[in-house]
Symmetry: C2
Subunit: 424 residues, 2 copies
């Protein structure tokens, strides 16, 4: 049961108070964006790097200044606590502090900064909450340094594998454990980061897609985080001399793969949203300008919010590729690299988010998140919910990442009201 309170606030006073807190939103986002700024544009704050540490210190200063009690857990998640007057499980808001290479100003940063300004605004306006309220800067979500991700949220739910810290290495051969020690963190204590005292986790995030912008909506309550599967498809034909092998005697693995890639796009379009299919990587062998490719390896990322529809998309992809390979005398091998089930957001949190939006004057749409988020991991241990604000042009993970200030402000206001409904 999610606690609901704060019904005594009028919209007018609510709006005033939020405007006060929100005044810090843009300057703080600007300040964070400077940390890890890259020559080619954007910022890069990989887990346990220098920029990552600097950003954490910066947020901790803001938390302390706001009157929150801070602590770092074993993996370096940063928590800022506003104690509640009653016992009970904690309400948490926040996001991740790491970024991809050339990352934008809002991905992750928005959830932390908005969570902190919202908490500060509530504290000023209403004092201590009933339920304790935590603002969290999660140490890692993007997977942009080590070939793993959700490091912070997986620590919180206690699902990090025994050997992960010692076996997973970055491109320079540094293990996660070595990188932790460089930041004064003890890998042996990872287990201590696990929490079972969280009631609900809510996160404000940019959409990172263009659905809201295209449909001219200012806000969405996330209904689910789409599941997906990563396939690796290996097409084997025969490498031949590009000059001496007539077209009708070839078994060209790349032309075969090209037909498959086009067919995957066609069926996914035919199925319609929210089905998406992406071939992101491709490699041809022997990779010579004058040799017919004998082998091609490509990846397919398939997503759909409905598990049945996702499986159907995968089955049609496999069957189409089989048919194309057979028609062209090619061999086909399909490997599953990763399979993630879809994660629904908690009905109670969704209802609170929808109500909060309504009280801020917005009828929020519901949206399936195509991107992965910490909420899908934390869902194993607590109620989760997410709010999306529009991304201009749908751009994200790039310096062009942008959201209209009015939309950022609206998102923060709905977050304030949500936290008020949950914690006061």
């Amino acid at each position: 049961m999610v606690h609901r309170g704060g019904d005594n606030l009028s919209n007018r006073t609510l709006r005033m108070r939020i405007d006060g807190g929100g005044a810090l939103l843009e300057p703080w986002l600007d300040e964070l964006y400077k940390i890890g700024a890259e020559p080619g544009g954007g910022a890069y704050r990989p887990l346990y790097g220098t920029a990552w540490a600097e950003a954490g210190d910066c947020v901790e200063r803001w938390m302390k200044k706001a009157g929150l009690e801070t602590r770092r857990d074993a993996v370096g998640n940063l928590w800022g606590r506003l104690d509640g007057t009653e016992k009970g499980k904690v309400i948490v808001t926040g996001s991740h502090i790491d970024t991809v290479r050339h990352g934008g100003r809002l991905d992750g940063a928005l959830g932390i900064v908005a969570g902190l300004t919202a908490t500060e605004a509530l504290m000023k306006a209403r004092g201590k909450p009933k339920r304790s309220l935590d603002v969290v800067a999660i140490c890692e979500e993007e997977g942009s340094r080590f070939p793993t991700n959700f490091w912070g949220s997986r620590a919180i739910v206690g699902s990090i594998g025994k050997d992960e810290a010692d076996t997973i290495v970055d491109p320079n051969g540094v293990t996660i454990a070595q990188a932790m020690r460089e930041r004064g963190l003890d890998p042996a204590k990872i287990g201590s980061a696990a929490r079972d005292d969280i009631d609900a986790f809510v996160e404000l995030h940019i959409e990172q897609g263009a659905v809201l912008e295209t449909t001219r909506q200012p806000l969405a309550v996330v209904s689910a985080i789409a599941g997906g599967v990563h396939l690796e498809i290996v097409v084997t034909g025969r490498a031949d001399h590009a000059g001496t092998t007539p077209m009708d005697l070839r078994h060209d693995a790349l032309v075969g793969a090209s037909v498959m890639i086009q067919a995957i796009e066609s069926i996914t379009r035919a199925i319609g949203a929210p089905a998406v299919a992406t071939v992101g990587r491709i490699r041809a062998e022997p990779d010579q300008i004058n040799v017919v490719p004998g082998r091609v390896v490509f990846t397919v990322d398939l997503r759909h919010s409905d598990p049945g529809a996702r499986r159907a998309l995968e089955e049609r992809t496999r069957s189409l590729c089989r048919t194309i390979a057979a028609e062209r005398g090619l061999e086909l091998e399909v490997r599953v690299l990763q399979e993630r089930p879809p994660v629904p957001m908690h009905a109670e949190v969704r209802a609170v988010l929808t109500r909060a939006a309504q009280e801020c004057g917005v009828r929020a749409t519901e949206l399936v998140s195509g991107a992965g988020h910490d909420a899908q991991i934390l869902a194993a241990r607590c109620k989760v919910g997410m709010l999306f604000v529009p991304s201009v042009g749908g751009r994200s993970h790039c310096p062009e990442e942008h959201t209209d200030p009015g939309h950022l402000e609206l998102g923060a206001r709905v977050l304030v009201r949500t936290l008020e409904l949950l914690a006061y």
Copy 2:
């Protein structure tokens, strides 16, 4: 005018004599194939390497034993001379001694070994020729060590650029000049390798394609070496999040490139042989499993024996790619990496080859060579002609490279008769 003689020989005596010389064909091919043998199968004899030097020494021993007078020119081409009784330009036969990585037993080696056995057989049966006869082991043709090729034949026609030896480096940063000095060759003397005393060059080679096998023909006289163009096509779309970007909002450079690759195959098939088009290399960026490719670069190798038809194929390729890019909101850039005109074989040499084949009981077909050969370079300075024997399964540049012993023998017999017609 190609000199024609030897008409006084009966087919029966000719056949007997050739069988005698041919007996060495297979053992010598076996011996050469051992030099540079690789762990993964096949042989690798890159220019100026250890295996290359060993192979040259081996062929020089055979030449001397056969009674030829040997010499190395400035770039390391190995010449074995059988002096003629009359003054006049020289008749040359042979092939290249270098190989690709994991190269087969016949590519290059066959032309040298068959040239030597043929010359030996003629010498034994008919003594000194009227015209001097040279057997040559050309130092390099494949381009498998340095990013250049036809080094040997370009030296013979005097077309090696002034700075090439000092500026072209192998993958270890060694210049051609350094590699030459390691073999006791003086790069300053490259110009001295040029010859203007060659009347005709004939070469026996494997087809490296499957046309002869497919059409059940034992021998071909090459009519021309196909010209070709290498294009680099850059498709620019927009990198987007694979999970959050609906299919209809994408500008996927890889799907666009896939449609182009398929279209290139279709039009080339529609035009028909001898048109061939090959996309051998492809690279997608940012090359992430969960990111829609924003940029794809691929190469196209287009060949046709008729220059007009080749240009038409290129124009249709460019126009199709433009249309596909425009339809999908992608940008397109097409760069010409290399352009080679087709080289016809000399009519007189073709006629002699056809007659020689006929006298050996075979009605030789005519074939356009899709692969490049030294003859296309030497054509600038002398009359050139080539004979092809079938490649089993069309395989070449691999350990599976194979030709039926009967076809090798037939090729050598026709070469003997050709050299007899040209030099005696």
